[in-house]
């Protein structure tokens, strides 16, 4: 598999998205802890683009579900080509991927694909095409994570729950209500 001419993917940074109860309080803490200012602050959302060590840290003010403070994890790459190369690698390794291309979330336009680990933690490989988009609605702040996957589910049998917003870029599972107004509007589904 290694000799199929697969592209070497240069990954920029690990990405860690935390759920927080109060983004202001958390900004205050992480400013002190990291010694830097947030790169992006929106209502209910902040991003620290840490150079030392390389880390893309985002804070998302959302109601905590059973899943606790870990929203999701990711690998930030430099191009859509690298997203697709990683997607290819993951697919060849037997992981089930879900794509979100040209999606607007976390106030940035991104291309990405997702996998989830055996405990339901979501990992994305993503490229940021356009960052620092203006604040359009509070809904955007809770995006950037697919609908929470129920823990302990078997791969390819992802029972999805509506406890968190599933981002406006993908529809909810068949038969389920939309998890936020944006998603409801976009896919013409009742909340």
């Amino acid at each position: 598999m290694e000799n199929t001419g697969a592209k070497e993917v240069q990954v920029l940074k690990a990405h860690l998205a935390l759920n927080v109860k109060s983004v202001e309080r958390s900004i205050e803490f992480y400013r002190k802890m990291l010694g830097i200012e947030p790169l992006k602050v929106r209502r209910g959302y902040a991003k620290f683009d840490v150079q030392n060590p390389p880390l893309n840290l985002t804070l998302n003010q959302v109601p905590f579900g059973e899943r606790g403070a870990l929203s999701h994890l990711g690998l930030q790459v430099a191009s859509t080509e690298d997203v697709l190369a990683m997607r290819q690698k993951w697919g060849e390794a037997g992981l089930v991927t879900r794509d979100e291309m040209q999606t607007n979330c976390c106030y940035a336009t991104q291309d990405k694909t997702w996998v989830h680990d055996p405990d339901g933690n979501e990992w994305e490989v993503f490229v940021v095409l356009k960052d620092n988009l203006p604040e359009v609605s509070a809904e955007a702040a809770t995006c950037c994570a697919p609908v929470a996957v129920e823990q302990n589910v078997v791969e390819q049998n992802t029972t999805q729950v509506s406890s968190s917003c599933g981002c406006e870029s993908s529809p909810p599972p068949v038969g389920q209500a939309a998890c936020c107004d944006t998603q409801a509007a976009k896919f013409n589904i009742a909340r």
């Binding site: 935390l18 759920n19 802890m33 840490v50 606790g68 870990l70 994890l73 992981l95």
Partner: protein, 172 residues
């Protein structure tokens, strides 16, 4: 002083470490750098990330065990600790502690939602498995817990050992 950090550290709780190793092997395309009963570490270079998998009961904080910043020397641990204290954060020290099958010096802070962050240096890695096998439950948990919270939460036999914190002449 400028602190040169090595890597971010993410420690996740897992229900089954073998299943998770299988997944993360595929995700990163690398082998774990350390594998022990109920514990594994992926030392990822691209991107720089120290990821550990800890098979332990999930708490209210879900899959997130703790987070960290790995540095290269005890001096950098102390420099970061100093900076944190000056910024008004409350630190807790663990010096010369064995956890995650590694001998480390570290200092902890807790974010507003209770997530623990450590700044740490690894002095000796890949210590033998006897911390987990044959040892009593308390020693085993100490070896693989890597969290002051785990030790003080009262949920384990290690919970009554607050002297773990602040040793090494680092009491404020």
């Amino acid at each position: 002083m400028a602190i040169k950090t090595l890597k971010a550290h993410v420690a996740v709780n897992v229900r089954n470490v073998e299943q998770s190793i299988e997944f993360y092997r595929k995700l990163f395309g690398i082998e774990p750098s350390k594998s022990r009963p109920k514990y594994a570490k992926f030392d990822v270079e691209s991107p720089p990330l120290n990821l550990t998998l800890n098979e332990r009961p999930f708490t209210d904080s879900g899959a997130l065990f703790h987070l960290g910043i790995q540095v290269t020397s005890t001096e950098d641990v102390l420099a970061m600790r100093e900076r944190w204290i000056e910024a008004g954060l409350q630190t807790r020290e663990e010096m010369q502690i064995v956890c995650g099958y590694a001998l480390q010096d570290k200092s902890w802070v807790t974010d507003p939602d209770g997530n623990e962050w450590e700044v740490f240096v690894v002095h000796q890695d890949n210590l033998p498995t006897y911390y987990a096998e044959g040892a009593d439950e308390c020693s085993r948990q100490e070896a693989d817990s890597c969290s002051t919270q785990a030790m003080t939460a009262g949920t384990s036999c290690c919970g009554s050992q607050p002297e773990k914190v602040g040793i090494g002449g680092l009491k404020k």
